[in-house]
């Protein structure tokens, strides 16, 4: 009984990983439009990037990955750090950047 459950959990995790298309970073110090512009420009130039979303109030930078491509998380982290800001959290989420933008706008 234990083995099928383990396999089921692994399958779920794999499905989630395959569906994930966006890397979401929480960034300290990114408070101005000029800060965001520099980060967005660098991340958009990366070959695996489909789209970028920056939200200053929520201090997030989200990079949606092109289908079939892999994003170098360390390079993303380095770009943000090199721009002068601190990455305090990195997540992989299944939402597109447009979904993240819509969710942000929906919040009061």
């Amino acid at each position: 009984m234990k083995r099928p459950l383990t396999l089921f959990a692994a399958a779920l995790a794999l499905t989630a990983a395959q569906a994930a298309t966006t890397t979401k970073l929480t960034v300290n110090g990114m408070v101005c439009a000029f800060c965001a512009q520099g980060i967005e420009k660098k991340l958009k130039a990366m070959p695996a990037t489909e789209a970028v979303y920056v939200n200053l109030a929520d201090k997030i930078v989200a990079v949606q990955i092109k289908d079939g491509q892999t994003l170098d998380i360390d390079k993303v982290r380095a770009e943000v750090k090199d721009a002068g800001y601190d990455v305090v959290k990195v997540e992989t989420v299944a939402d597109t950047v447009e979904a993240l933008r819509a969710a942000s706008k929906a919040r009061p």
Binding site: G29, M30, C32, A33, F34, K41, N55, K59, V88
Partner: protein, 213 residues
């Protein structure tokens, strides 16, 4: 306008451009103009790292009665000395060193100008506070400049949208004018540009524009 006040206004104009935004992000260029009835200024710099920029600018200025004119041409280096990143804020220490020439219609030739400066600022998405000091040193010119800026935005926006700010600036040039100039300004920021418009306590209009590309 007296000669002392005219010279003060000239130097204040040059300093104002620095405090409005020292530099952009790495590999970017920042262009800025500062326009008022008594002066016109424009400069540009290039950020060759996230912490260093080289720039050049020019300024022309005249007194109210048009008898006294000043011109400055300057190359400058800007350095982000230190940044503290906080969960919802950043604090910075900037150093700027300008070298150039100062000309006027009340003396012959061009005088070499040295102008080191320091800026400390603190910023969130809704609040901005900055203190700026700069020394102006040339043959026969020995002035200290100080300015404080504080502002707030009315609300948060998506960073691609236009965000309005209300900014109040107080500035003074020691040795030239004992009057503190107070200028409330409305600032609109949208991604890579901002515009500011306001008027000081004497009613003199001021318009600033900046663009990062």
């Amino acid at each position: 306008m007296t000669r002392r006040r005219a010279v003060a206004a000239l130097l204040l104009a040059g300093a104002g451009a620095v405090q409005a935004g020292p530099m952009g992000f790495k590999d970017s260029q920042m262009a800025m103009g500062d326009f008022g009835p008594r002066w016109r200024e424009a400069w540009i710099n290039h950020a060759f790292t996230a912490r260093d920029a080289l720039g050049a600018g020019g300024l022309t200025m005249r007194s109210d009665d048009d008898r006294l004119r000043r011109e400055i041409a300057e190359v400058n280096y800007t350095r982000l000395v230190h940044r503290i990143n906080l969960p919802h804020a950043q604090a910075n220490a900037w150093f700027v060193m300008g070298v150039g020439g100062l000309r006027g219609n009340d003396f012959a030739g061009t005088r070499t100008l040295w102008a080191p400066g320091l800026q400390l600022d603190y910023e969130t998405t809704r609040v901005y506070v900055a203190a700026f000091a700069r020394l102006y040193r040339a043959d026969g010119v020995n002035h200290d400049y100080a300015a404080l800026r504080a502002g707030f935005s009315f609300y948060n926006v998506e960073y691609e949208q236009t965000q309005p700010w209300l900014v109040l600036e107080a500035r003074r040039m020691r040795g030239l004018s004992e009057q503190v100039e107070w200028t409330p300004m409305l600032r609109l920021i949208n991604k890579g540009w901002f515009v500011e418009a306001g008027a000081n306590q004497e009613g003199d209009a001021r318009f600033n524009v900046m663009y990062i590309f």
